[in-house]
């Protein structure tokens, strides 16, 4: 590096610089070795389920490259009557997506009020909303079962749909931050035109905050798509099986007769493809939504 030194006569400084350069090359080599090692650790398990899923049904020993590969397992997973993965996928969709959309709308509406309207109870309501985030949710799952069974919702998808429709505190927190960055004057202009508050939220705020909505939407979708405990509690005795729940059951259906490992791996591969594709497509929005909640500004 021949950058002109301020002290050309200072040979010691030069030497240091050379040393630093070799140091950074060594650092880079070590860094790449570690990163590639990490990458291998992340990728190999995926490779393993793919190759297991293509395994011949009479083989039960793992091979990195299955000798006789067949698509039997996939065929079965897609055509079976009892646990058709397409049915599981559709079930997941209608349970997760509408609730998620309503949730986004409601969370955004609350955030709109916090960021742009003034009303007396604002600070106290906001403090309560944020405080609800610190309650460990999993602990509440079992005690809630009784309430849903009193409502007559146990063993129906309602407990997975309705509570979500009221928005989530984490999303309110995120949207409030996001909306605070949108100029108040836009809202005021809307009100000058005689827009109602709801109309103003829909026609002014939402279009300006599309990335925020996409990000929170993907987050909520991933959570719902992967949810296992909810369907286990509320749908295990119904015919409505969500994808994540079905994956676990797949193997037990075919346990004895066929190569059940290939079948459950095929199911896992099919279930993973949409969510990984969604993540890769939307990771920019996704990542912003995740880190906003945790980094202390």
């Amino acid at each position: 590096m021949a950058s002109p030194s301020a002290f050309p006569q200072d040979g010691k400084k030069r030497k240091n610089r050379v040393k630093e350069d070799t140091g950074s090359i060594v650092f880079k080599i070590v860094a790449y070795i570690l990163l590639v090692f990490g990458l291998v650790l992340v990728v190999v398990p995926f490779f393993i389920i793919v190759s297991t899923s293509l395994q011949d049904r009479n083989v039960n020993v793992f091979a990195w490259w299955p000798e006789k590969s067949g698509w039997d397992a996939y065929e079965l997973v897609f055509t079976s009557d009892r646990s058709n993965i397409l049915v599981g996928f559709l079930n997941t969709m209608w349970i997760v997506v509408p609730s998620m959309l309503v949730s986004l709308f409601v969370s955004g509406l609350a955030a709109f009020a916090y960021a742009k309207l003034h009303f007396r109870a604002k600070n106290i309501l906001y403090a309560i909303t944020i405080a609800t985030m610190s309650i460990p949710g999993t602990v509440l799952m079992m005690p809630s079962y009784l309430w849903y069974s009193i409502l007559g919702w146990a063993q129906s998808p309602l407990p997975l749909i309705i509570p979500g429709c009221f928005g989530s505190a984490a999303a309110v927190f995120f949207f409030t931050q996001y909306f605070s960055g949108i100029p108040q004057s836009l809202v005021e202009a809307g009100q000058m035109d005689g827009m109602s508050f709801l109309r103003c939220y829909i026609t002014v705020m939402i279009p300006l905050a599309v990335p925020a909505f996409v990000g929170q939407g993907i987050l909520a979708f991933v959570g719902g798509y992967n949810d296992y405990m909810g369907p286990l509690l509320y749908l295990s005795r119904t015919d409505i099986k969500t994808l994540a729940f079905m994956l676990v059951e797949l193997q037990s259906y075919y346990g004895a007769q066929k190569n059940s490992d290939a079948i459950s791996c095929a199911g896992a591969v099919v279930a993973l493809i949409p969510i990984i594709a969604l993540y890769l497509a939307g990771h920019k929005f996704f990542v912003g939504g995740l880190t906003a909640g945790g980094v202390k500004e």
Binding site: P45, A121, L140
Partner: protein
Amino acid sequence: MSRDKTAVIPSAGERAQAERSAATRSRPPKKRRYGWKEEVYGTVFASLPLVGFLLFSVVPVGIAIATMFCDMDGMNISTIRWNGFANFGKAFSDVAFWRSLLVGLEMTVAHIVGLIVSIVVAAILSQKIKGGKLFTIFFFIPYVCSSAAISIMWVQIFKPAGGVLNSLLQGLGVETPPDWFRDATWFPWMLVVTIAWKAPGYGILMVQAALANVNESIYEAAKMDGASKFRQFFSVTFPAISPTLFFLLAMGLLNGLQTFDIAQIFAQKTSGYVTGSAGPGDAGLTSVFHIYNTMNNPGAGGMPVASVLSLLLFVVISLVLAVNKRLSKLWVSYDY
């Protein structure tokens, strides 16, 4: 409902305060043109999420607390009858529950390992390495995968006969690799490895974001003062990212003690190999899993005892988080 599971934020108090001021900051100079209308709409819009919280968190918890002092048949609320503190007696003398807390602590090991891995990876990636962004994207993939799919993956890997890991171990000269499915000492560690594989993605993102937020001028100042790279890390970088590390540690403790999905699925997948309901000798019985079993088993007390156990778990988690918070005063700095 369960979508908020991971959104639990321990330092909510401080966050609330910080945010409250952020929420008020955007308030324009007072002009009460919209008066009562704005008052009403604002209150209604803002309280919608709280109505949900009231209906689906406060009410159920209230009912659960009321039933703790009662007995009933299954989920049939009409058969409810007072039985005093019997459920509490049952819960406190429930050895399996207290043991499950230790299993939960074992699971937090996975999250702590994940945290250490995230710090190392994020530190490397923050050095502006070529292709760093691609690595970040790839390392996050396990985080978006369902625990169902991940469990299937790792069951394949740990499978004692013909599984990948044991073939590898044998190839490396380990003559009798552990029988992961049947050996009670190894069974929980199998869960730990699975969780640790999934855990770092989120941490890497968070630590990276924290590192990017460190003020460059502090480094300049440190360099001026002749601080070595090593010194720079401990005097500048570490204090600056310590609030994020504290947050991640608290989340790790919380998620570790609340482990359910992976423990339950592994127990199901290995049920052909052992007689226990949660791995060999119930070695993989986490607290929430035990509460789930209690709820479904009237002989063990059913719903009321499960509610008492949930309350106990809540208290234990709160204590652990409080201790963690107290200890954080030794190493977390909020001055940056």
